[in-house]
Symmetry: C2
């Protein structure tokens, strides 16, 4: 679980005692490739800290899957709005590849906030990052061309995600038609 | 400054000592009606706790002002993304009416986080609310009709904002053409 400790240590200094307590709340869960972790309409009960694997969140629009987030080894994922409100998710969470995770439940996190207020910082930074992420995504969609969006994506995204996600799913994430993305990639290779 | 204490007390139990320290960081500032508080390209240095007044944030699109948030007595406002990143704002902040505020600077807030980790909760909830707000707004724009968006707005918004904001600015906030909003309002009155 060292990767989770590292993730926390990026923002907090935590004592052995605090880490021990945090750790006790984590529950190991494995998901097969292509399995649904949170279904639309379910409540996202957990944050998933990914030890190894590849996961995505997406919503359905006219029967088409629109990807909203990808995550892999050493990072985390959830359906954040459903998790925060403990209400039915409008998005799905899927394991793209077989994924090994440690989960932290909503109840456990709120118990940790009470016990050690310093964990509030983890919650604050998580919320701030989610806020900036959705804002940047909206801006990107509104102000950048498809080619700029793709270049931005490959510059800022973990190689495992770029390589592990089928091209049509990257296209859906970037709001680009699959044919256009193929053309953009050919142009980039040529230039 | 009691309204600020009330705002904090919605989420935190704070001691006299903690409130004393928090209070020392607040700086009183008044803004005339129609004055720009944060200009696009400036850094949002402060959170503005509004004692009395009416403020809005907006961005410019093809020379047109698109409103993103309104706030009034007893609530707060900032350009959150600029405040968090301490980078140039893509939005403006304006006092619509003469506004009396107490401001809390970025530096002061981060000093408070260090001194009393419990204030992290204030930051967490602020970030969570901003996240949910932008998400709901995006969803609303994508999935609801203009009439539903307007009904939702008058149901969830402080009367002072509904009455104090010119109709064309509410229209820009809701992504509705001013003529359409007038028609919708006539329909509602008739029904």
């Amino acid at each position: 679980m060292e990767y989770i400790r590292e993730l926390l240590k990026m923002h907090l200094s935590i004592s052995e005692n605090e880490w021990e307590t945090f750790q006790k709340h984590l529950v190991y869960r494995e998901f097969d490739a292509k399995s649904l972790v949170v279904r639309e309409g379910m409540i996202a009960q957990n944050i998933y800290f990914i030890e190894s694997g590849l996961m995505r969140s997406y919503y359905l629009e006219d029967g088409k899957e629109i990807n909203t987030y990808f995550s892999c080894d050493g990072a985390l994922i959830t359906v954040f709005s459903s998790f925060l409100r403990q209400k039915a998710a409008l998005e799905c969470l899927e394991a793209i590849e077989k994924s090994k995770t440690y989960t932290l439940s909503y109840e456990a996190l709120y118990r940790l906030y009470q016990q050690f207020p310093k964990f509030e910082r983890f919650g604050r930074i998580l919320a701030e990052q989610n806020y900036l992420c959705i804002l940047d995504r909206t801006m990107l969609m509104q102000t950048k061309t498809a080619k700029q969006r793709y270049l931005d994506f490959i510059e800022t995204t973990a190689p495992k995600i770029i390589q592990g996600i089928p091209l049509y799913q990257i296209a859906s994430f970037l709001g680009i038609a699959p044919e256009s993305l193929s053309r953009i990639r050919r142009e980039i290779v040529r230039s």
